[in-house]
Symmetry: C2
């Protein structure tokens, strides 16, 4: 199962060990708005300019930018002996907040909520329960009460969920011929991310999203516009 090379030097384990450093580097560049700024200016700019525009330390920003270059999230070129940074095409498409395919909301959710909760994975395995109490001081037994603990948090979670369907919704809907189903119920359908792919792929299908009342109300307000025909909601618990 293990090659002698792996036994000699545990590269895979060291990669696993550093996984969180990679995650947080990408998350932080997103959260600080690095990709947004580089998209806005539309030309390579120096670390000092980026630090100044985003109100960060120069030293910290230089290190972050170079780590992003190492991860191929940014490109760098020398001008007057100073590194000037710009987005890669993938970053422009997936990490700029205003892009229709942005992962921004998913990334910030992972960074601010999931990462923190996973610090308590040993406790979660011991106790067999979620760690919202240790992570966020919320002792609710219902995990969705914890996730939806405020309107702001609900919105963050809904954007996070919506992003997942932006990435893989079309592939999932088109993997099978679902045209025989004229009336589809999406239990826990949230923001209608999947429903939108459904109605745009199958012209005859109507989707009814069933979710908690507060989710339905927010989804109607923020995610499903009036123009989106054939998507209906049903509140429940």
């Amino acid at each position: 199962m293990c090659s002698s090379e792996e036994l000699e030097y545990p590269q895979k384990l060291l990669d696993y060990q550093c996984g969180f450093l990679v995650s947080k580097t990408m998350f932080t560049a997103c959260e600080l708005g690095v990709f947004d700024l580089l998209h806005e200016v539309q030309e390579p700019i120096a670390a000092t300019t980026i630090a100044s525009r985003l109100s960060t330390s120069v030293d910290g920003m230089e290190r972050l930018l170079d780590a992003c270059v190492g991860l191929k999230l940014l490109k760098v070129e020398l001008k007057n002996n100073e590194g000037h940074y710009s987005n890669t095409d993938v970053s422009t498409l997936y990490l700029v907040k205003s892009s229709p395919k942005t992962l921004y909301h998913m990334i910030t959710y992972y960074s601010q909520t999931t990462y923190k909760l996973w610090h308590f994975l040993p406790e979660a395995i011991r106790e067999g329960k979620s760690q919202y109490e240790r992570g966020f001081g919320i002792s609710s037994k219902e995990v969705f009460e914890a996730i939806y603990r405020s309107e702001e948090e609900m919105l963050k979670f809904l954007y996070h969920m919506d992003t997942i369907w932006t990435i893989c919704g079309k592939d999932i809907i088109q993997a099978f011929d679902l045209s025989v189903f004229c009336s589809v119920y999406d239990l826990g359908g949230c923001t209608g991310g999947l429903a939108k792919h459904f109605v745009s792929t199958y012209n005859e299908t109507t989707v009814t999203i069933m979710d908690l009342p507060s989710v339905v109300q927010t989804a109607k307000k923020k995610f499903v516009t009036d123009e989106e025909q054939r998507i209906h909601f049903l509140e429940g618990a």
Copy 2:
């Protein structure tokens, strides 16, 4: 710079995003003693047995074990329709605490200290300073005052540092012919991890480790035995 495949589906970004889940899965299996128990029993055992022996929930342990199988840190085989788990050779060598090549101390340091500090990477970049205050409530300006905040914490850090040399010390020492240097000073030489590789590779060399008084005292007590000739210490600050 980016392939069209990458533009179509951002696999690399999704891998980066999940990096911390991978880290914490491996860290947690180490911290809970999964690899140690499997090494001790020397035969594949069921999740229920592992959960019972390690005082964890069965559901949580089953998920953790299957994640470890996915990461190729464990093997699984079916006996009477129930999964029975065992260590891979790499896990036996590098993840069992008692192994001479164990990464255990580095992993627990990463899990309990570094992971937590890196939650505050955006703040670190903004402020250009370490985040021991947010992470551990320590407002010291000197980072080593924070790292060595108690004897227990110092010991954890020293074991962590020592592990690094266990993995790559020999390669570094042998990368150049250093035999012309008979007297070597290792500034911040910590536990003598590098020094040991030096004296075992070069028979004529004497190494003097210079470090903080408290580090030197602990290193002498726990890491450098009397038998290790040609390693000396010098306290300083």
